[in-house]
């Protein structure tokens, strides 16, 4: 399990190539922007293969290996073989006729997580959120009426109420004049999604910045 050590000389010889490989694969992936081509397909498949392998390797190195070597072999905690067998039952899923075996671990995880969520862990954030929504409408600051905060609190509470009304109650409840509420709720929600869209764009632009920074700064040392 300790593994074979690759001679450090080989690693030292390969390491300078690493940034350049990074540039090549980035350009290979970006070549798709011009049109579909074999270089992109190679990069795409290499990505899926390496990502799957990395998940396997990290899980093995940090979870499976210590579990076998430390917990079972060294500490003698043999009960841990039961969850190992339970986990392995999931591998019956692809085999027709035995797929039902894979339901056992699945139900274990679903049950565990359902129970996990039906405690204070989810209730506390929910109640905290509800409590922090009940903001005072008339706010005073050093004995003076704070108009700006009062208006903001009124809008905040109103928007929360409108959002909840929009999603929780049937549309049929709001007919005629009450339909105005739904229209307002929709408008406010779209405005909120606009803010999400704006911050989302910042996120996507940063993905590009990250790549250009890598190529121009980390590899080409242009700045």
């Amino acid at each position: 399990m300790a593994g074979v050590q690759v001679p450090i000389g080989i690693v030292n010889a390969l390491n300078p190539l690493s940034p350049w490989i990074g540039v090549l694969v980035t350009l290979g992936v970006w070549s798709f922007l011009y049109k579909e081509n074999p270089v992109f397909r190679i990069c795409e498949h290499a990505y899926v293969g390496s990502a799957a392998a990395h998940t396997m390797v990290t899980t093995f190195a940090n979870n499976i290996k210590p579990g076998l070597v430390v917990d079972i072999a060294q500490n003698g905690e043999y009960w841990r073989i039961i969850p190992i067998l339970l986990g392995c039952m999931i591998y019956f899923q692809p085999f027709r006729g035995y797929t039902w075996v894979s339901r056992y671990p699945m139900s274990f995880w679903v049950g565990y997580n359902a129970g996990y969520n039906l405690t204070l862990r989810v209730a506390m954030p929910l109640l905290t959120e509800v409590r922090r929504t009940m903001l005072p409408i008339f706010v005073t600051n050093n004995g003076r009426f704070d108009l700006a905060t009062s208006i903001n609190n009124f809008i905040f509470t109103g928007v929360v109420t409108l959002t909840l009304a929009y999603f929780l109650f049937s549309m049929n409840v709001f007919k005629g004049r009450a339909g105005f509420m739904i229209r307002t709720a929709r408008l406010v929600l779209m405005a909120a999604f606009g803010a999400g869209f704006g911050t989302g764009i910042a996120n996507y632009v940063s993905l590009l910045i990250g790549r250009f920074d890598f190529i121009m700064s980390d590899v080409l040392k242009l700045f």
Partner: protein, 209 residues
């Protein structure tokens, strides 16, 4: 056997967690901490190979049956087994230099590059599809523009009001709408968990049917 046992497992595991979460009952708290939680960690770890197994099956079939573009399946399986061999069999952990070379050269850069394609597509989508056809979509676009300008120093340099407006939109309108959504989602989560626990919701037991 095929339905009752899984439902019983679900119920028992869930109820132990519920009792552990709300009550102080020594042996149940102890059982949950010492056995149940590690069991979840261990079983999830050992099950992590399912995705990889399906990947191997699919691409092995591609090669065996010489399906369209089967040559790329060699690339996928090649990278998979190369990194797996380096990480698991050759060196045994992720910090070993040889594995790190493959990880930092290929995996890190490929991942970042593939997702950076989204930035380009986003530009195209903004240009071609976002249209102010109604009051709602106009509100979305205007708020998005204020949020974008107000969140960068250039916006503040153009006009000091941009960050103030952006901050107000995010802190009042957006936070409030997200609060409403969050409360709704949490209530939905809780009801779904109850349905799972008592066996009304059985979607996860569909495998093999």
């Amino acid at each position: 056997m095929r339905r009752t046992v899984p439902l019983t497992i679900s119920f028992v595991a869930g109820m132990i967690m519920v009792i552990d979460g709300w009550l102080k009952i020594g042996f149940i708290n102890n059982f949950a901490t010492r056995y149940l939680m590690p069991s979840v960690t261990i079983s999830v770890g050992w099950a992590a190979g399912l995705g990889a197994l399906n990947l191997i099956r699919l691409h092995s079939r591609n090669i065996a049956q010489k399906r369209l573009n089967y040559q790329y399946s060699f690339v996928l399986l090649g990278f998979f087994f190369l990194m797996l061999t380096c990480g698991v069999f050759l060196q045994g952990n992720t910090t070993a230099p040889f594995y790190q070379f493959f990880y930092s050269s290929f995996q890190v850069n490929l991942s970042a590059a593939v997702y950076s394609l989204n930035s380009f597509y986003l530009v195209s989508a903004c240009y071609r599809t976002f249209r102010a056809r109604s009051w709602e979509s106009t509100a979305l676009l205007v708020v998005a523009c204020f949020t974008m300008i107000g969140s960068v120093p250039m916006g503040a340099a153009m006009w000091g009001g941009f960050p103030v407006i952006q901050n107000w939109i995010v802190k009042v309108i957006n936070d409030a709408a997200i609060r409403g959504l969050s409360i709704g989602v949490t209530l939905g989560t809780l009801s779904q968990c109850v349905r799972n626990l008592v066996g009304i919701e059985r979607g996860h037991l569909q495998a093999g049917e």
